[in-house]
Amino acid sequence: MPTKEEHQELLHKYAEAIVRVGLNLRAGQRLVIYNAINRGIPPAGRPLVHEVTKAAYAAGARYVEAIWGDEEMNRIRLQHAPVDSLDEYPKFHISGLMDMIENGDALLSISANDPDIYNGLDSERVVALQKANLENYKPISQNVSRNAINWCVVAAASPAWAAKMFPDLDQAQAEEKLWQAIFETTRAVHPDPVAAWNEHIKNLRKRADYLHAKKYSALHYKAPGTDFTLGLPRGHKWMSAQALAENGVVFTANMPTEEVFTLPDRHRAEGTVTATFPLSYGGSLIEEFSLTFENGRIVKVQANKNEAILQKLVDTDEGSTRLGEVALVPASSPISKRGHLFYNTLFDENASCHLAIGRAYRFSLTGGEELTEEEFIAAGGNVSLNHVDFMIGSPQMDIDGILDDGRREPVMRQGEWAIAV
């Protein structure tokens, strides 16, 4: 295990990379640190918040606000609150965040959530609470998904999450091991993390540019349990690490990130796709599941564990029966090579090719930010309260790109890139 000083130094370098590469925070900006899932940052995020705050002030931040939350409070609420009160929501959280967004401030979400926080609770109540949260949160997720401001999602190790990942270790060792995984996958261990990130961002951009130039009309996936064709809308934009926010700041929304992604055509998905990792959704683990599509719509869900929760997710709204993201990640990605599940989408989605049920990012369609909701939908974009990633990649997966004239080209073979850039 690293010494306390070594750990602190890594935390410091990680925070620097978050502020300078992730957020690319500008002097004079304000910064809100929160948790996109639970509003408030779990207390385990505290040491990281302290380092990020110092780095932000050093970068000239005008003000840093940290919004804290305690996941345990949600458990207590689900157990003891009146049944008809689960849609109560403190509106000032939304108006407060909107105020910051309209002012062009930056948002940092720190994920440290317990993957099993809702284990054993009444799933009807869990889903009711989550739906209310998503609905209230909609103005924020809409602004984030069109990159209104520079934003970033990162992780901090927490006791419950670490214990879930490394059940055989004692608490301190498990946490340190998770921190090491975070530091390595976010390049904080590199002598110069900022330079390492710039190099990585360049490499990902080459793949995105290649796919962008191809303008495939569809992708075809073939793997055990998967035979699936996914249409890509006209004007789809392949994106990677960096994006340009409406406030003019170029930022990197996820750390780590290994994916190249765009939006699928919400009307064109055919066949069956089988997940290759469990999906941690709303504090429950959905395992060994597959989805069957017709005309872009999920017509069948099947899961060996928590099928009912998967069905509830799909039933949330019309957009939850369709896809909003398609992402390509080689099976040999640094996160995949670690060989363990993180029970956290930020990491797991970078271990494997994946799809997302629900909302498409406006910025992944040319001109998407300016379209009305109806226009965006007509152009193939999906609209939903949800955006839930699930993993489908494996070393057995082949992906072809299908051109307008029906010709096929290999994009991935046996889980690896088959394109030369």
Binding site: G40, P43, H50, A61, R62, D70, Q79, Y89, S95, G96
Partner: protein
């Protein structure tokens, strides 16, 4: 205390806070303000509040370390930045007449070494932003202030103990002074409230025009407004709920007349002001205004506080607490007003509470001031009681009545 005993007491404490302190009603929401270290109690209060029918329990956590990081790392001219939602948060809850619980467990040394100029500028900006809300919604709904034995605070109170031992010791003090370890806390609080109300009634009947304080280093006359209203223990909020706004509480209090305070008073305990300790200090008043201050430590912070606005150097509260109060008897300096103010007689610089003047809640600012009430961004209690303090009540005809002798009540009820 075993872990199980502690957990049980914490649960009882939470029930006392919800049912006696806040007297939370079914259908109310509850906003809790605290520091991250308060989490174990906050979880218990949350459970108790939901069981009492709360619609929502929301916590606004502060990370004290971040407060210090801001002073150390942010550019000084940005320290007056106050985000809007601090305002909209209170507005949302107060407008709905929801309940509010504030937890005061701050590190007494949090900002030691930080320039008083910066602290005052920061506090002033915050208070100015909140002032309209504070005036509009004062006492509009049930609120309560309590504390938890946070590590930094406990270590300050018991510097010779390990952090863990200090916390356990401080928890014992909190449970004892809040009557949690009695067989029936509800009955104990009812009895205590009745007891304080007797003194409150007596003082309201006397209609003293002034109080005269005599003690080593102290010779002070505090004029009282004609419409003075003595308060204590229970409060009735504008939403009709009767609660106990401070746990613990041992004081009866009213407002001084802002223009009729003369003489010198010496503090008998250090004052923790915004994370800075002010020690061994005295103030001299002329016609209500502090004209001279002396402090062995923290004089500049005290001076800045008094200069924060026009009336920060005038008094807004006078409170009577016998030296033998359960908290005084413990002989511990808590470095926390919630406890120290219930150990000794005290006065407060700054704002007067509207409910301490008859009809004060309906008065305009001008009427309130004309009746002797003080309006300021500041309200800072400091302790002046001791075993050598005598207090006389002075009537309009000049006759005097002993109110306290050698720090104890001199009135027979």
């Amino acid at each position: 205390m075993t872990e199980q005993e502690f957990d049980q007491l914490l649960g009882k404490y939470a029930d006392v806070v919800v049912h006696i302190g806040l007297n939370l009603r079914k259908g109310q929401r509850l906003l809790i303000r605290g520091i991250l270290e308060d989490a174990p109690l906050i979880r218990k209060v949350t459970e108790s509040a939901y069981k009492a029918g709360a619609l929502l329990v929301d916590v606004a956590y502060t990370d004290e370390r971040l407060t210090r990081i801001r002073f150390e790392h942010a550019s000084p001219e940005t320290l007056t930045e106050v985000p809007n939602w601090i305002l909209t948060r209170f507005e949302e809850y107060y407008e709905r007449m929801d309940a509010e619980l504030a937890i005061a467990s701050t590190d007494p040394e949090l900002l030691s070494g930080i320039s008083p100029d910066l602290i005052t500028a920061n506090r002033k900006a915050l208070m100015q932003k909140l002032e309209p809300i504070r005036s509009k919604y004062e006492n509009s709904s049930n609120w309560c202030v309590i504390a938890t034995a946070s590590p930094a605070w406990a270590s300050k109170v018991f510097p010779d103990l390990s952090t863990e031992e200090a916390q356990e010791k401080l928890w014992e003090e909190i449970f004892a002074t809040c009557r949690i370890n009695t067989p029936d806390p509800v009955a104990a609080w009812t009895e205590h409230t009745q007891h304080l109300k007797k003194y409150r009634s007596y003082l309201n009947e006397q209609r003293f025009t002034a109080l005269h304080y005599l003690a080593p280093g102290t010779d002070l006359t505090i004029g009282l407004p004609e419409k003075q209203l003595w308060q204590g223990a229970e409060a009735e909020f504008k939403n009709g709920i009767i609660g106990i706004p401070n746990l613990p509480t041992e004081e009866v209090f009213t407002t001084p007349h802002k223009d009729r305070v003369n003489g010198t008073v010496r503090a008998t305990m250090p004052l923790n002001y915004s994370g800075v300790l002010i020690e061994d200090f005295s103030l001299t008043f002329e016609n209500g205004r502090a004209v001279k201050i002396i402090a062995e430590k923290g004089e500049e912070a005290l001076r800045k506080m008094i200069e924060m606005d026009e009336n920060a150097g005038r008094l807004g509260e006078v409170a009577l607490v016998p030296n033998s109060s359960p908290i005084g008897q413990r002989g511990i300096l808590f470095y926390n007003s919630l406890f120290d103010e219930n150990a000794a007689c005290h006065i407060a610089l700054g704002n007067s509470y509207r409910e301490t003047i008859i009809g004060g809640e309906e008065m305009t600012d001008e009427e309130f001031a004309a009746n002797g009430g003080n309006k300021s961004l500041v309200h800072t209690d400091f302790m002046i009681g001791s075993g050598s303090l005598d207090i006389d009540g002075i009537r309009s005809d000049g006759t005097r009545e002993p109110v306290m002798r050698a720090g104890e009540w001199a009135i027979q009820l």
